[in-house]
């Protein structure tokens, strides 16, 4: 039934770039770099060198010294390590955490877990376009505030927060700042040499690297209580055998992810898609029109049920919101935070483009979506106004 299959869910995960896959393959061969990087023998040291090369590649991409990068299993673990680790390490100094309503669940669920443990959390409300004003952060900071956790690029809307400004107001008040930058690499520059941030969560699989590997940037001197114990890897921040092939893949992926080269191409494809979809009656863009990443386009289709639209265009991989909640029926917490009604939130689709998205695919998507929205609206003819509000 599906003539062709088009992938527009790069924000959920990306395919591994062939160059990255090649680098990983070498580590998966019998005579390749497979040894344990913690082993002192020569094959172990060979693996260690590959790991350190990758650490340097990642550090260079985000503008940080190599020794500030610790490997984790992904941004979920990095967010948990940053938030739990910083709050627990500084519990005597202060038990107040500030975050926002549109954070990823890795941050929101961790914040909720901290509340259960007796910590106090303030959830900042984004404006209707998803933006947090630095002043909101400044106003929320209290004497007992230990950490502010604000994401860089939102995974559902692509909205970009002003981390430079937020960092200033945290640093000037002696409060730590954690930034979830899982979606940023290759789309919006992460400039740790210019930002006053203390912790940054990174992942490989949103930037053409492998799933299951990520990193946490820890500014030197930042106290963290580790989540995992055992072994001395990563300076005690994170034990466990280092996954050489995964780390090599992440390093290669980050080296390739040149925002200056890629962002304009992504924006062009994204704009082409919006130009086509915006011709459909009543559609609206979710998020901020300009302060956003070039890879995400989140659109509401009033009068259409989102699940039906997705089945109607089943040959096109798009998503309702974050993949990690796609089993959950409830409306996206991000779109609700932007003030959308349940009906509008449920009608919304996240289209996310990437390195391998072609212009002709976009034209096909516009054609299919336009036709299916028309068909579903026809089927719902005479439906009451709330269905489209």
């Amino acid at each position: 039934m599906t003539k062709r299959s088009i992938y527009l869910d790069y924000a959920a995960t990306t395919p591994v770039d062939p160059v990255v896959a090649a680098a990983m393959r070498e580590c998966l061969e019998l005579d390749g770099t497979f040894a344990n990087p913690s082993s002192s023998h020569s094959v172990g040291q060979r693996a260690r060198r590959r790991v350190e090369e990758a650490r340097a590649q990642i550090a260079a991409r985000v503008g940080a010294p190599a020794e500030t990068i610790s490997f984790t299993s992904g941004a979920t673990e990095s967010d948990n390590l940053a938030i739990q680790g910083a709050m627990l390490a500084h519990r005597d100094r202060g038990r107040h955490l500030i975050t926002s309503r549109t954070e990823h669940k890795a941050v929101l669920d961790t914040a909720a877990a901290m509340e259960k443990q007796g910590f106090d959390v303030t959830y900042l409300s984004n404006d209707s376009e998803g933006v947090i004003a630095p002043d909101q952060v400044a106003d929320a900071i209290r004497a007992d505030t230990t950490l502010v956790a604000i994401m860089h690029v939102n995974n559902e809307t692509g909205v970009v927060q002003d981390i430079a400004a937020i960092g200033e107001c945290c640093r000037s008040r002696g409060v730590l700042l954690h930034v979830d930058a899982a979606q940023s690499i290759g789309k919006v520059p992460v400039q740790l040499d210019q930002w006053a941030v203390d912790l940054v969560a990174l992942t490989a699989h949103k930037a053409y690297g492998p799933k299951g590997i990520g990193a946490l940037y820890v500014r030197p001197g930042t106290k963290l209580a580790p989540l995992l114990h055992g072994g001395e890897q990563e300076g005690g921040v994170r034990p466990g055998t280092l996954a050489t092939h995964q780390i090599v893949g992440m390093g290669q992926a980050y080296e390739l992810a040149d925002t200056e080269r890629e962002a304009p191409a992504l924006a062009e494809v994204r704009d082409r898609l919006w130009a086509g979809l915006s011709a459909i009656e009543g559609v609206r863009l979710n998020g901020h029109p300009t302060q956003r990443s070039p890879h995400v386009l989140n659109v509401a289709f009033p009068g259409v049920d989102g699940e039906s639209l997705r089945l109607g265009i089943a040959d096109i991989a798009v998503s309702a919101g974050a993949a990690c909640n796609s089993s959950a029926a409830e409306a996206s917490h991000v779109l609700s935070a932007l003030g959308l009604s349940d009906a509008l939130a449920a009608s919304s689709q996240r289209f996310s483009v990437g390195r391998f998205t072609a212009a002709d695919e976009i034209d096909y998507v516009i054609e299919r979506v336009t036709a299916e929205v028309g068909r579903l609206r026809e089927l719902a003819g005479g439906a009451p106004a709330w269905c489209a509000k």
């Binding site: 039934m1 009068g303 049920d305 699940e307 039906s308 089945l311 109607g312 029926a329 349940d342 009906a343 449920a346 089927l379 719902a380 003819g381 005479g382 439906a383 009451p384 709330w386 269905c387």
Partner: protein, 130 residues
């Protein structure tokens, strides 16, 4: 979400979607909605004597709602009008192999059928929606 072949088929080519021309004789219309579940459905039946001659529907909702409405429209064709009260949504959910969490939505369809039966037996109201 995995959809059964029947749901996919009925979703992509729904039989009985639409509405009757104004003033079609023997028309009864039933409507129901649940905003929290994000569904609305309207069922129209044309009853000749005591028999349902044909059925038309409109749906705003998920693929299972669309498929269920189509299934119901087909099932009612040629049945006694009391069938409007007798269809069991638990059965229909199983037939369509819809997940349990969809039952709530299907019960909205049942409400519409009930309303339709009401309208048929109390013609005064029956005009509403026609």
């Amino acid at each position: 979400m995995d959809y059964s072949l029947e749901v996919q088929q009925r979703f992509h080519s729904p039989q009985g979607a639409g509405e009757f021309a104004e003033g079609t004789p023997g028309l009864a219309t039933g409507e129901a909605e649940d905003r929290t579940l994000n569904v609305w459905v309207r069922i129209q039946v044309q009853v000749v004597g005591t028999v349902i001659r044909s059925v038309q529907f409109r749906v705003f909702g998920c693929p299972h709602m669309l498929a269920a409405a189509g299934w119901v429209a087909e099932a009612l064709q040629g049945r006694e009008s009391d069938a409007l009260r007798e269809l069991d949504m638990h059965e229909i959910r199983k037939t369509l192999d819809a997940p349990l969490e969809k039952l709530g939505k299907l019960l909205v369809l049942e409400d519409a059928l009930q309303a339709c039966w009401q309208a048929h037996n109390v013609p005064a109201q029956g005009q509403k929606g026609a």
